[in-house]
Structure formats: C-alpha cells, structure tokens
C-alpha cells in the first residue's frame, strides 16, 4: 500500500480568471483594436456605398437623392419626405402650393391611388414612371425605349429644361403622340422620343422624367442634371418628397400572422434562444480534461488468411485454391488410413479408393487430375473432395461413424 500524502492543496491545472486575463490580455486588446478599425472603416465606407432605397431623401448612397434634397434645403425650400399617400395628402392640404416629387419604382400603388397622386397639388414631378403610373397620370404617353442619342439637348420651351441645356445621355425615354394636347417633349432622341415630357393642363403641371439618374446622387453633378432637378423641384417653397412604401398597399383578405400573434411571442422566442445557449453551456462544459491513453491496435491473426482468400477469389485462382484443399484432404486421409507422411500420392490414392469404395480413376480425378474451369466446377470438385474425405475417414473407424465436423482438431497435446 502506498500513500501519496499531500499536505498543501495540490497544483490546480485550471487557470484562474486572473491568469487567463493576463495570458490573453494582448490578444484581447488586439482583437478589440481590430474590431474598432473594422467598425470605423465600415461606417466610413457605408456612406459612399450603394445600399439604401433609391431616390430616398435621406440616402447618401449612389442611388439616393440626398444631394439634391440638401441643396434645395440650403436654398430655403422645405422638403417634407413622406412615406404614404395619407401623409402626402395631409402634407399637400397643409401646403397647397407645394411641389410633389413622386417615384414608385416598386409599383406599390394601385391605379386609384395613382390617380389620387395626380390630384394632390398643381405641380407634380414624376421620376421613372412605370406603366401603371403612365396610364393613370398621362394616358397619352408611352414608353420610348433606351435613348441612343450621343447628346441630349433641351430643344423645347420648358424653362427648366432650357436652363439645364444638356442632361446625361442614355437612359430611358418616353414617347407621346404628336396630336396630344398640352404635352411638351424635351431632350429628344432619334424617333420622336423624349427624356422629359411636361404636360400643362388647367394650370396643373405634370413633369415626367423618364430616367431617375437625373435625381440620383452619383449623376446629379454631371451635365445639366443639377439645373434640371433644382429648377423642376425648387419652383415652390415646399417640396413634398413622396416615395410609396409597403404601408400604401391596401390590406386585403384575412389578418396576417403577425397581426394574430400575441405580443409576447417574440420576446419569449428571444428568451428561449438565451435558454438554449445556457443549456449548451450547461451540457457542453467539460468536467475536467480527458485522460489520454494509448490503446493497442486490434489485429486479428486471420486477417492475412482473409486477404489471401480475397486474392484467390479476385484472381480466379481456382487450381491453386483447389490444390490447397486437396493437399489438406490427402494429408488427413493418409493419416486416417495409417499411412506415413512421406507416402507416395499414388499409394494414398490406391488406399483411399479401397477404403471409400470409389473407382480409382474417379479418386485420381478428384484428388489430382481434374482442373476446374469455372466456379461451378470448383464448388462441385470441393464437394466431391469433402464427400470422399468423409467416406474414407468413416471407413477407417471401427463403428463406421464419420467424425463430426465440430470435433476439435488434434492439438498436438501429448498425454504420457
């Protein structure tokens, strides 16, 4: 018996919190610094990124329109961004002399709502109108395809267009029938299509700008885009910047799943996520390190035998296989017949034929002569060898009983 007496508490293999902090202080600081740099650079690059809704008044990205809105505000125009038709209606009734800027690239509004937009105020600027908007607001106007002209010059009497002179080439265009009343087309391309179409009817002015690039941050400063946008939008003291959102879509059918779920469902889900994390920590915390152990490799001795059997089978080594079976059978039969180990094979065949009662030619064919040409012949021959062996050995027993196959083999044990 041995006793390993330890008077003082033994060394702990688990580091204390202080040790962990000291050991990983550098990496923690480094990781924190890297995170800080990442956050700052993300914020810095996000300002010039292309994310955010297009033409939004507060979107500084390339597709947004913050630039033109800020310039207008600097010039003393009150810009009111609104999200829904209801808000737009409220704003227009509060400022009846306002200009409305309207763009619905997602096509949220129905025809009725679009018609309502047309009657909000007297000056309406529509950017990038889709088919429904054209149908509701200016049915005479159709699409004109993409402009192929190298330069787009005003060539019309609309003051804003004249002042702009030229806008950035390319982009969508609109077409209008020549006999339609009140329409003025500006910035024509080949084939009587225009980039800007203005309709003046009963003191109401509707300006259709085919391409929204005129108002977008990335192209506002090129050509005469800025002049066109500022003149179109800055005519009145107030500008209602209306971009429809999902809130404009009329609610139809049964109430949505979100409306039916009780208010506590989301917080409970969040709590369950926390609980799941806690449960993972609970079950995942290891109760001390593993104790390593070198285990032996398990190799069965019969593996070489199995491998040789597979080699025989794959190579169809029938003769080699049956010869092994034959040698084994001949050895056992010779032993049973009381013949010495060194006896000639012919002698053994003669004895076996005599013992088993088989014809000698047959015994010779089974034990030596026959060459199996197919697997079926191999099986047949193997069965014949087995029968011959059983009959021969049974004949050597005094009571004529064949040895049971399950009898243990002779083990070389010698009893004195």
């Amino acid at each position: 018996m041995t006793t390993t007496a330890v008077a003082i508490p033994p060394r702990s293999l688990t580091p204390t919190i202080r040790t962990v902090l000291r050991r990983y202080a550098f990496w923690a600081v480094a990781a924190g610094g890297a995170l800080l740099v990442a956050v700052i650079s993300f914020l810095a690059t996000n300002a010039a990124g292309s994310a955010g809704p297009p033409l939004a008044a507060d979107n500084p990205a390339q597709a947004g329109s913050m630039a033109v809105v800020e310039v207008l505000r600097g010039q003393g125009v009150t810009v009111l961004p609104v999200d829904t038709l209801v808000e737009a209606g409220e704003a227009s009734s509060a400022h009846p002399n306002a200009t409305v800027f309207f763009a619905d690239p997602e096509g949220y509004l129905t025809t009725d709502q679009l018609t309502d937009v047309g009657t909000l105020v007297d000056r309406i600027v529509v950017a990038d109108p889709d088919f429904a908007a054209l149908q509701a607001l200016a049915p005479e106007v159709g699409f004109g395809g993409v402009s192929t002209a190298d330069t787009l010059t005003a060539q019309c009497a609309v003051p804003a267009a004249e002042r702009a002179g030229e806008i950035s080439p390319g982009g969508k265009t609109l077409g209008v029938a020549a006999d339609a009343a009140g329409y003025t087309g500006c910035f024509p391309s080949d084939g009587d299509v225009y980039s800007v179409i203005e309709r003046t009817l009963d003191d109401r002015t509707l300006t259709l700008v085919a391409d929204r690039a005129v108002f977008a941050n990335d192209e506002i400063a090129t050509w005469g885009n800025a002049a066109l946008a500022l003149n179109l939008l800055g005519a009145d003291e107030t500008l209602i910047w209306y971009l429809p959102t999902l809130a404009d879509v009329p609610v139809t059918g049964p109430p949505s799943l979100g409306a039916l779920t009780p208010g506590w469902v989301t917080p409970v889900l969040v709590l369950l996520v926390f609980t799941a994390i806690a449960a993972m920590v609970w079950r995942g915390r290891r109760f001390g390190p593993l104790v390593a152990e070198n285990l032996p490799v398990v190799v069965r001795a019969s593996e070489t035998m199995e491998g040789r059997a597979r080699l025989y089978a794959r190579g169809n080594a029938r003769l080699r296989a049956i010869d092994a079976i034959r040698i084994g059978a001949v050895t056992r039969m010779a032993l049973a017949a009381g013949l010495p180990r060194s006896m000639e094979l012919d002698q053994v065949i003669r004895s076996v034929a005599a013992l088993s009662g088989w014809p000698r030619d047959r015994v010779h064919a089974v034990l030596v002569g026959e060459v199996p040409q197919s697997d079926a012949a191999l099986m047949e021959l193997s069965a014949a060898i087995e029968n011959l062996e059983v009959e021969t050995i049974a004949a050597t027993r005094p009571n004529g009983i064949a040895p049971s196959p399950s009898a243990p083999p002779p083990n070389g044990r010698m009893d004195p």
């Binding site: 018996m1 041995t2 006793t3 390993t4 330890v6 008077a7 003082i8 508490p9 060394r11 702990s12 293999l13 688990t14 208010g263 506590w264 917080p267 409970v268 709590l271 369950l272 926390f274 609980t275 806690a278 449960a279 609970w282 915390r285 109760f287 001390g288 390190p289 104790v291 152990e293 285990l295 032996p296 490799v297 190799v299 069965r300 001795a301 019969s302 593996e303 070489t304 035998m305 040789r308 059997a309 025989y312 089978a313 080699r320 296989a321 092994a324 079976i325 084994g328 191999l378 099986m379 193997s382 196959p405 399950s406 243990p408 083999p409 083990n411 070389g412 044990r413 010698m414 004195p416």
Partner: protein, 435 residues
C-alpha cells in the same frame, strides 16, 4: 465556472412573467432584459458564495498491483482547507481502461474536514493504468452556477497478467508427484536418477526389483527413482510485431505469458531453475535467479508493462542472450508464432545453433477458427476461404516440420489449450530425462 440545469430552468421560467404581462413592443423587451439580468445576478451571487475548489487537499490510498480481471478499491481523501462548506461533484480522472465506471461522486465537505471517496476499479487491460487529476465542481448555495477546478493528483496502478492458466496447475503438480516417487504409482523413465531402496509392495514394477539388495535381505527390495532436479529452463518470449496479432480475441503475446507463467510455476515446483527473457531487438524483461513465489511475482511484474513492438524479431541475437543466461545445457522454450515459411526464416536460421547445445521446444498458438473454415464450403467465397485457411494450416505445418527437422520439439495449440499442452510436454520431457 460551470452552469447547472437549475440555472437553465430559471432562465426558461422567464416565460411566465413575459406571458402574464403580455407587454407591448416597448415593455416586453424590458421585461425580458430584466429577467435575464435577474437570473445573471442570482447566478453571480451564487458563484461568489461557492467554496473554492482550489482549497482542497487530495490524498490517495491505492494498492500498487492488481491482477487483470480483479477489482480494487481506490481511496481518495479530500480535505477542505477553505473557510466555506463545499458542496459539489468530484470526478476522479482515471484512464478509460482502468475501469472506473461512473467516476463522479457528489460530496459535501464542511470547512476543515476530510471525506473519503471510494471508487471501484476493474481494469480492462494489462499494463500501467494511471490517473492524472481530480476535477472538483463546487456549487453555490442556490445550485445555479458552480466553480470548477482540476487538481493535479497523479496515481498509478500496475495491472498484472491474469494467469488464468493457474487452474491447470494442481493437476500438473499431481502428475509431477507421480514422477517423483512420492505416490504409490512409480513412473520409471530412462535417465531418471536412482533415489533409494524400499520393500516391495504389490503393484510395483517387477523390473525395478534390485536382486542384489534382495539377496542381502530376506525381503524383496525395489529401487525407487526420482526425476532429475536442478535443470535449467530458459523461457524466451517473442515480443516482436507478429506477437500483436489476436487469436481468439487474445493477443498472441498474452497467450505466451499464460503459457510461460504455468510452465514457470510448474518447473519451479519440480525443482528446476527457470529464467525468463522477453526479447525482440532488445531485452524487454528478464527474470533470473528467482525461485518459488518470488519468481512468479517478478515475472508478472515484468510482463505487465510489455506490449508488442512494431519491429521484427532479432533471432540472430538470441543465442548470445541465452549464452549470457546459462552456459550449461538447458531446456530452451521459444514462445513465438510459426505462421509462414517466409516469416520464420529467422527462427529456422538460429535453431540449429540452439539445438546443438540445448533441448529446444517451440510453442506456438494456432487459430482454432481455421478448422471450421476449411469445412465450410457452401458458396464460392467460402470455398476460396477454405482454400486459404487450408493453405495457412499447411504453411504452419511446414514450418513445424522444418523446426522438427532441425532437432527442436514443437507444441502447437489453440490459445486456451497452449499453456496446459506446454506443461504436459515439459512433464513428458522430464519423464524422458531429456532436460
């Protein structure tokens, strides 16, 4: 630090206030955050109140040796030198093969007291089994959070070979006594030594009557004989790569150990001197000059740590090793596999040298499954397998024949029967006076 299931439950219970208050989009997150903070606060308090697991002392009481297959009790004394009562769970870090079973024990340790933790070990493998550390998880009074530390507490126990074959020992010893002339049946063999004269009793071999002594006395007197004593036996165990193969789910090496132990026990009872050598390219174990109980204990001690090496056996170095053990004539028992002629060339090359000086006995394990495989020939695969098994058996027979031709004796048997077969052959050699 560790969490408990109780803490998870506490956190999940936050569902109740959330559902009952059924807050709006503003109040619900507040309730949620409040509950999580409450749970964290309780956990933190619990953790702060838990006793330090680092303040524990660890003492072990453990026997140094155990035989494979037997159980042993490991005693672990934990003392609390801290100032708080420690409640928690202790895990004794034994290797898997030490057979510790469920090694987690719940303990309550008041400050300044000691407690005993008993663990029943049932090793499943021979060799040195070690424990590396003791891990203590100390719960707070609420049982929410726990402090955890792993304390260094090394321990080792040597697992000895099982010596299952000792059940054959009594019958073999009684057969030895028959040789010895102590029982009424006298077995007389060539080469046995003259012991004494005694009166004839019915049943004695008439050939052993000493007529001259009978003439001197009125009674008929017979000579008694006793077998030779003080012969040398050298057991060589092959620990090379082929000894790692398993026959009947036991490595050949372990079968060799069983056979060597039985033979050594028997031979030392018969008055012979036994030396054991475990050899591949260097000496793995050597037992020399021991007798009786000490011989066996030294043998199992040395054998416990031997594992088969992934190297080829160096047969050419063996005669020199045997010469170093004894210069006299001895019975050299080689416990080695005899599989294929190719693999046994090393053995065959040195056998001639050994048989010139010594009586050599080669003992080898055969695979008992081979006989069944040669008979099963139901389909194509099994015919080929039967052929392969037959070929393997023939190869082993050829090696055995070659070994016999070089003047050595051969014992082959399945793993269960090899130790008694080897013992029987030893008794036969002794009776024949060939030691």
């Amino acid at each position: 630090m560790a969490l408990t299931g109780r803490f998870v439950l506490l956190l999940a219970l936050g569902v109740v206030p959330l559902v009952l208050l059924d807050g709006t989009a503003v109040t619900a997150p507040v309730v949620l955050a409040g509950w999580v903070l409450f749970a964290l606060l309780l956990g933190g308090i619990d953790l702060a109140l838990a006793a330090s697991p680092r303040a524990l002392t660890v003492d072990r009481v453990l026997p140094t040796r155990v035989r494979l297959g037997e159980t042993v009790t490991s005693e672990l004394y934990l003392g609390n030198t801290g100032e708080r009562r420690l409640r928690g769970v202790v895990r004794d870090g034994w290797q898997p093969s030490a057979g510790a079973g469920n090694n987690r024990t719940a303990v309550t340790l008041p400050a300044g007291e000691r407690r005993l933790i008993e663990l029943t070990l049932r090793p499943t493998r021979r060799g040195e089994r070690t424990a590396a550390h003791v891990t203590v998880r100390s719960m707070g009074p609420l049982g929410l959070w726990a402090r955890q530390a792993t304390l260094q507490a090394p321990a080792r126990i040597r697992v000895l070979p099982p010596f299952h074959s000792r059940k054959h020992l009594p019958s073999r010893i009684s057969r030895l006594k028959e040789l010895d002339g102590r029982t009424s049946v006298l077995v007389r063999g060539q080469g046995t030594e003259f012991d004494s004269l005694r009166e004839y009793v019915r049943g004695d071999d008439v050939r052993s009557i000493d007529w001259r002594a009978t003439a001197r006395r009125n009674d008929v007197v017979v000579r008694t004989w006793r077998p030779e004593r003080d012969r040398r036996i050298v057991i060589v165990i092959d620990t090379g790569r082929t000894s790692a193969a398993r026959v009947a789910d036991e490595p050949r090496l372990d079968t060799a150990f069983e056979a060597a132990l039985l033979l050594a026990a028997l031979a030392s009872r018969a008055g012979d001197r036994v030396d054991v050598l475990a050899w591949d390219r260097r000496v793995r174990a050597r037992v020399q000059g021991a007798a009786g109980a000490e011989l066996l204990s030294r043998m199992v001690d040395g054998m416990a740590l031997i594992e088969p090496e992934l190297i080829e056996m160096d047969w050419t170095g063996l005669p020199g090793q045997i010469r170093g053990i004894t210069g006299q004539h001895a019975l050299v028992v080689l416990l080695t596999p005899m599989d294929a002629p190719g693999a046994s060339t090393g053995l065959l090359s040195v056998l001639g040298q050994l048989t010139q000086r010594h009586t050599v006995l080669v003992a080898s394990v055969t695979d008992p499954s081979m006989a069944g495989l040669t008979r099963a020939r139901a389909d194509r695969e099994s015919v080929y397998r039967a052929a392969s098994a037959e070929r393997t058996t023939l190869d082993a027979t050829r090696v055995a024949a070659a070994v016999r031709q070089l003047g050595a004796d051969v014992v082959t048997a399945p793993p269960e029967q090899l130790p008694p077969a080897l013992a029987d052959r030893y008794i036969a050699l002794k009776a024949a006076g060939r030691l």
